[in-house]
């Protein structure tokens, strides 16, 4: 070598200026990126709040929060009681989670603890496809397949009901819960499994008493995401639950969710500037607050249950 | 916190065994000198027999020390403890040999010879035994102040030895026929002198153990 590397390096050092600037610019650039995410939230809140204020100038906020009647379209005495939309949303979410959590979690446990590596490699992508099917497809699946099936079991079940779309929303989020929970469970170090197996534990005991608790925060995170998806799901409900806002806990009744309402109005006839028009922002705001609370709760829970390893 | 408990115990055991061995050699010397004085052939034979035990014991301690080195990776003082165990036992074995040599000389001299043993030989023995005791304490307490004493004692031993040899030679000059006997006697004195030298070596070893440097007390 003509010149030693360290000499070359010293020479280069003397001549370089640019990296210094890059070095200083980088955190600022990335900081701006981060701030944009904050702006997104600000944007959402700003958007929602402005229009929501207009709405509450016309409709009493008390009525909005406490009334159980949601009949915005009657010209004579429209009533805006969000509770019926909330109950619809909760009903769907509840049914969905009732389906998705046991099935999704069971699937996750099966894949992570029992299935062979090969089976896992095949089944997981299949489940992910299930997650990718457009929701409108699920909607018709609920209406034309699940509802008739349910009618066989529950005679007199109306064609529009909360049960069928609830189940299908559940089916739609099974892959999400299964896949994320499986990720959480398979990232539990195998040394822990070995520790338990070596004491004579069965696979079931390992799964339920070791892996599940250790992966709990990840699993709860998957539930939360699932619940968020269920709350935010629009098309399935719009197609199969009817669009009758009702304050009810009866799963056989037709209901309407917050999201379905927003879509209904935004595709519908209500004129711009009408109270109905502003009501979608109020509903959107409620939805946002709803998910915010949910997420805070979830974060609290997952912090509480986190088992560090 | 006391760590390496087992190793500590092993080292302690070894020390005890070494002290034991020292005591054997001491006993051998006492018996040997007694046999010499009393022309006690049986005792002499017994000493020769018993020396085998001492040899075995030496081998034993040796092997243990080597095993401990192999298994415990000792360093510094621990290592020196084991190294001097090897050295001290070699010395002790030689001391045993010297006692045996005296017993051999006793047998060589045979029963009923008329030669009186030079009384100072007893003094030599006494010094030697005193030295063994000192050495045992030095070993037991790893005490260099005690070990230092050995050097002085060895000096008086050397003086005694020279006196004895001189006086015996003078005697030979008057009793030429006794030459062979005197020779054996001289050798015996020499053996005790060598016995003491080895004890001095033990002292040196203790110094090495404690200070980590080699000394020459002779």
């Amino acid at each position: 070598m003509s010149k030693s590397v360290s000499e070359i390096i010293k020479e280069k050092k003397r001549r370089k200026f640019l990296p210094g600037y890059l070095e200083k610019a980088a955190p600022i650039i990335f900081g701006i990126c981060a701030v944009i995410s904050v702006f997104t939230t600000v944007g959402i809140i700003f958007t929602l709040v402005i229009e929501t204020i207009t709405f509450f100038n016309r409709v009493s906020i008390i009525e909005f929060i406490t009334s159980t009647d949601w009949y915005p379209f009657t010209e004579k005495a429209p009533s805006y009681g969000i509770l019926s939309l909330v109950s619809g949303t909760l009903l769907i979410t509840f049914i969905a989670m009732l389906v998705a959590i046991p099935v999704g979690l069971s699937t996750a446990i099966y894949l992570s603890e029992y299935a062979s590596e090969r089976a896992r490699r095949i089944i997981k992508p299949i489940l992910e496809v299930l997650a990718g099917v457009p929701t409108i497809v699920y909607g018709f699946f609920a209406l034309t397949f699940v509802t008739p099936l349910l009618k066989g079991i529950i005679p007199g079940l109306p064609i529009f009901n909360a049960l069928s779309p609830g189940i299908v929303v559940g089916i739609m989020i099974i892959p999400m819960i299964a896949s994320l929970s499986e990720d959480a469970m398979s990232s539990v170090p195998s040394s822990m499994r070995e520790g338990a197996l070596a004491m004579g534990a069965t696979k079931l005991e390992v799964a339920l008493k070791i892996v599940l608790p250790a992966a709990l925060s990840g699993i709860i995170a998957s539930f939360v995401l699932g619940i968020s998806r269920a709350i935010g799901e629009t098309m399935i409900v719009a197609v199969a639950a009817g669009s009758t806002p009702k304050f009810t806990l009866d799963v056989t009744e037709s209901i309407q969710t917050m999201t379905a309402y927003i879509v209904q109005v935004s595709l519908g006839d209500a004129s711009y500037g009408s109270t109905i028009y502003y009501s979608i922002y109020a509903v959107g705001m409620s939805l946002f607050v709803f998910t915010l609370l949910m997420n805070l709760l979830a974060q609290y829970i997952s912090r509480r249950f986190r088992e560090e390893y | 916190m006391v760590a390496r408990e087992q190793f500590q115990l092993d080292l302690k055991d070894m020390k005890e065994e070494i002290i034991q061995l020292a005591k054997y050699t001491e006993a051998a010397l006492v018996s040997a000198v007694d046999a010499l004085y009393n022309q006690d052939m049986a005792l002499a034979e017994q000493i020769i027999e018993k020396d085998k035990d001492i040899d075995k014991k030496e081998l034993d301690i040796n092997n243990k020390a080597i095993l401990l080195i192999a298994k415990q990776q000792p360093v510094a003082k621990d290592l020196r403890r084991l190294i001097i165990a090897l050295k001290i036992t070699t010395d002790l074995e030689r001391m045993g040999d010297h006692a045996k040599n005296i017993a051999n000389a006793t047998i060589e001299l045979g029963e009923h010879h008329l030669l009186t043993v030079h009384p100072a030989v007893r003094d030599m023995r006494d010094i030697a035994i005193e030295m063994v005791k000192v050495a045992v304490n030095a070993i037991r307490y790893e005490d260099i102040s005690v070990a230092g004493k050995l050097s002085g004692m060895d000096d008086s031993m050397d003086n005694l030895y020279e006196t004895i040899i001189r006086e015996m030679l003078e005697e030979t000059a008057t009793n030429p026929e006794k030459v062979q006997y005197v020779m054996q006697m001289a050798f015996s004195a020499r053996y005790i002198e060598r016995f003491a030298d080895h004890i001095t070596n033990i002292g040196e070893n203790i110094l090495f153990l404690v200070k980590g440097e080699s000394y020459n007390l002779n």
Binding site: A26, C33, V38, I44, T107, I123, V133, S228, Q299 | -
Partner: protein, 292 residues
Amino acid sequence: MNLVDKQLVKNKMGMRLIRNKLIKQLFLMATLFAIIILGTLLYRIFTQGIGYLDWEFFLSFASRFPEEAGIKAAIIGSLWLMAITAPISLILGVGTAIFLEEYASKNKWTRFIQMNISNLAGVPSIVFGLLGLTVFVRLLEMGRSIIAGGLTMSLLILPIIVVASQEAIRSVPNDQYEASFAMGATKWQTIRRVVLPAAIPGILTGGILALSRAIGETAPLLMIGALTFIAYLPENIWSGFTVMPIQIFNWTSRPQEEFHYVAAAGIIVLLVMLLIMNSIAVFIRNKFSKRY
């Protein structure tokens, strides 16, 4: 003293093993349940749609005749949308992730941003539609253009990408940083040459999965008023556009049954597209995932 009664342990063993077996079957059934449903769904879609799936379908615009209806505009629209969404969301998302993981000191502000992001990930897509309508379409006067749709979608999937990228960056072991710093590399050099290359598989996988969410989304685009019929291809980011899910949605709500089959054909195309994207993600995951 024996505290553990060995006989008892032995006796209980049988029951435990049986329970293990039974519940395993239960888990297996749950897994099959999901798969059977998928099978049913796909079967229905394929039997309906396959007849309409020919070359023409890809090369034609929408039409009032089911036989002539095609998905060209929607596919191209979806691609345009992705062309906007992908770079924007990736750049913003990865940038945010780098900021949060590498530069931000762990204080209240970063915690706030962090919480904000994980919260955004849970906000329903329709709310993003409202945001896009108000901010991009109206406030910034972008109209119902590709750019407005793309930006809306970008924001929608931004949190997903941020979280995935953070995860990927965080999983680059600390010793890699140390190795780089110890050679005299600067922070930016370390990020660019060590962290990002190592994190790229994770980022891409997360990114593609997020994009495949975006490509199937209907509601927010309905909100901002994406078009339904266009008989031409978009020319630039200011053009109007339609996307596959909207086109499918439109077809399904037509009275003529034939259109429902056309919709099924559209769904097949969408599914295949999703499948391709997922496979790419899986491929990246398998091919580039490095074990540390």
